[in-house]
Subunit: 208 residues, 3 copies
C-alpha cells in the first residue's frame, strides 16, 4: 500500500462516519424511525462514491466490494441516536470531520477517474460528485432543496481540491506530497469559508 493510501483510508473512514452521523441528525429532525436513520446515514455516507462509480461504469461499487463499510455507517448512525443528548457540544468537531470527508472523498473521486483514464474535466467532476452528492441525496430524501445548490461553497471546495490535486500530479509532484497539499488546501478553504461565512453570489430571478 503506497503512503498516500495509508493516509487516505483512515481519513475516508472518518469522513464516512461524519457523513453518516450528520445525516442521522437530519433524520432525527424529521422524526424518522431507527431504520430510517440507518438508511439515511448509509445513503449519505456512501451515495457520493456510488453515484460517481455508476456514472463512470466503475463496478463493483465500494460497499459491494467492502461490505464492512455498511457496518461502519450503521454503527455511526445508531451511535448518533445513543449519544444525541450530548452531541451538540461537538458540533464544531463535526464541521471539521465533515470537511475532512468532503476533501478526502474528492481526492479519492479524482483518483478513480484518473485510473480509468478520464479527461481532465471528468476527473474534476468525478471528484466533486464523490464529495458532494451524498449530501444532495440526504437533502432530497429529507424533502429539502439541496444545500449544495444554495450555500456553503461545498462544491467550490471540491473543485479547488480537485484542481490542486490534478494540477500537482500533472506537474510531476510526488503523489504523497500532492495528496497532502490538496488535503491542506481543501480543508483550509472549507474551514475559512465556514468561519467567515463566505458565500457564492446568489442568482435571484423572480419573474414568472
Amino acid at each position: 500500500m503506497p503512503h498516500t493510501e495509508a493516509l487516505l483510508l483512515p481519513l475516508s473512514l472518518i469522513g464516512i462516519i461524519a457523513a453518516s452521523m450528520t445525516a442521522a441528525l437530519a433524520a432525527g429532525r424529521r422524526s424518522m424511525d431507527w431504520v430510517g436513520v440507518v438508511l439515511l446515514g448509509s445513503i449519505t455516507a456512501l451515495g457520493g462514491g456510488s453515484t460517481r462509480d455508476i456514472l463512470l461504469g466503475n463496478y463493483p461499487l465500494a460497499w459491494v466490494r467492502e461490505p464492512y463499510l455498511l457496518g461502519v455507517t450503521t454503527i455511526a448512525a445508531l451511535s448518533t441516536i445513543a449519544f444525541a443528548g450530548g452531541i451538540h457540544r461537538f458540533r464544531h468537531l463535526f464541521l471539521v470531520l465533515d470537511a475532512i470527508g468532503l476533501v478526502v472523498f474528492t481526492i479519492q473521486g479524482c483518483d478513480v477517474a484518473l485510473k480509468t483514464g478520464q479527461p481532465l474535466a471528468v476527473v474534476i467532476v468525478a471528484g466533486m460528485i464523490s464529495g458532494s452528492v451524498g449530501g444532495v441525496l440526504r437533502d432530497v430524501l429529507c424533502n429539502d432543496v439541496p444545500l449544495l445548490f444554495r450555500s456553503e461553497l461545498y462544491a467550490s471546495v471540491a473543485i479547488v481540491t480537485g484542481l490542486t490535486y490534478v494540477g500537482g500530479l500533472t506537474l510531476g509532484v510526488s503523489p504523497d506530497v500532492v495528496t497532502l497539499v490538496a488535503l491542506a488546501v481543501g480543508l483550509t478553504f472549507r474551514l475559512l469559508a465556514i468561519r467567515f461565512r463566505w458565500e457564492m453570489p446568489k442568482f435571484v430571478y423572480d419573474r414568472d
Copy 2:
C-alpha cells in the same frame, strides 16, 4: 423452471400490479394526468429491481429483457383510473397484495445477489433495495419524505425475510422449502405489523 421460480413469477407479477396500482392512487391524490399516473406506477413497480441491478452492475434490467412488464404496469395504472370509484372497498386486499410484493421482491433481490456471488451483507441489502426502493421513488416524485424512513416496518420486514431466506439456504434446506418459509415469515410479520400498528422507535432530535 424449478418449482420456486414457478411460484415466485406469478407472485412477483401480483406484487408489480399492486405496486403500480397503489402508486396510481398516490398520483391521483396529487391530481397527476394520465401519463403521469402510468409513469409513476411503472417507476414504483419496477424501480426497486432496477435500482438493485444498477447498483450491482447486473445488466440488462428486467423490463429491458422482458418489456411486457411495461405493459403490465401500464394496464395496472390505467385500470386504477377506471375503477377508482370502488377501489377503496378493496383496500385491505391491497395491503395484502402489497405485502406479497414486498416479500417476493426481497427474495428475488437476494437471489440476484446470490447468483452474482455477493457477500452476505450485500445479499440482504440487495433484497431490501428490491423490496423497498420503488416506494421511495414514488414518495420522492410525489414530493413527500419517504414513508420507508418514517414508519411501517417496511425495511425491517425485508431484512427479516432476507435473513430467513439466506439463513435457510446456508443451512442446506432445499430452495423450494426455504422460499415458502421466507414468504410465510415475511408476510406474517408484515401483516401483523399492519394489524397491530407496530412501529420502530423514532429518533426525535430538535436542536438546530
Copy 3:
C-alpha cells in the same frame, strides 16, 4: 458522418443549451448560488441521456466521452445569470428551443436503443427518458412535484415522436427522411399543445 447526424448534432446542442438555461431560471427562482445554477443547468441538460444510458448499461456516458458538453452547459447557465434582466423577452423563443430539445433528445434516445438491439417498447421508453428525465431531475432538485407528471403533454410528445421515428424506420423509409418527419411531427405537436393549452385528462383521487 451521415446527413441525419449532421442535422441532429447542432439541434441537440441547441436543446442542451435551452435545457441548461431554463433550469438556470428555475434555480434563480429558488435563489440558488452561482455554482448551484451551473450544477442544476448541467444536470437538467445532460441528465436525460445519462439516465437512459445508465438504465441500458450503455457506457461511457455522453459527457464522459465528450467533456466539452460540460463546458456548453456551464456557459449556458452562466449566460443566463448575465442576461437575466432581458431574458423574459425571449420566452417564446425558449419554448421553441426547449421543444426542439425534447424532440431531438427523443430521437437520439431511440437511436441509442435501436443500435443496442432493444425491443420496440424499450426503444420508445428510451426516447421518452432521454427527452424528459432531465426536467424531472430539475423539478425534484427544486423540491417540486415534476411537471412531467402533471401537465403539458411532455411525455406524450416524446412517445408520438418516438413512434413516428421507429415506425418510419420499420417501414423502410430512409433515416434522413424519417428523422425530418419525426422532428416535424414532434415539434408541431408540442407547439400546438403549448399554443392551445392541450392537456391530458387528470386523475383526481381524494379518498385517504
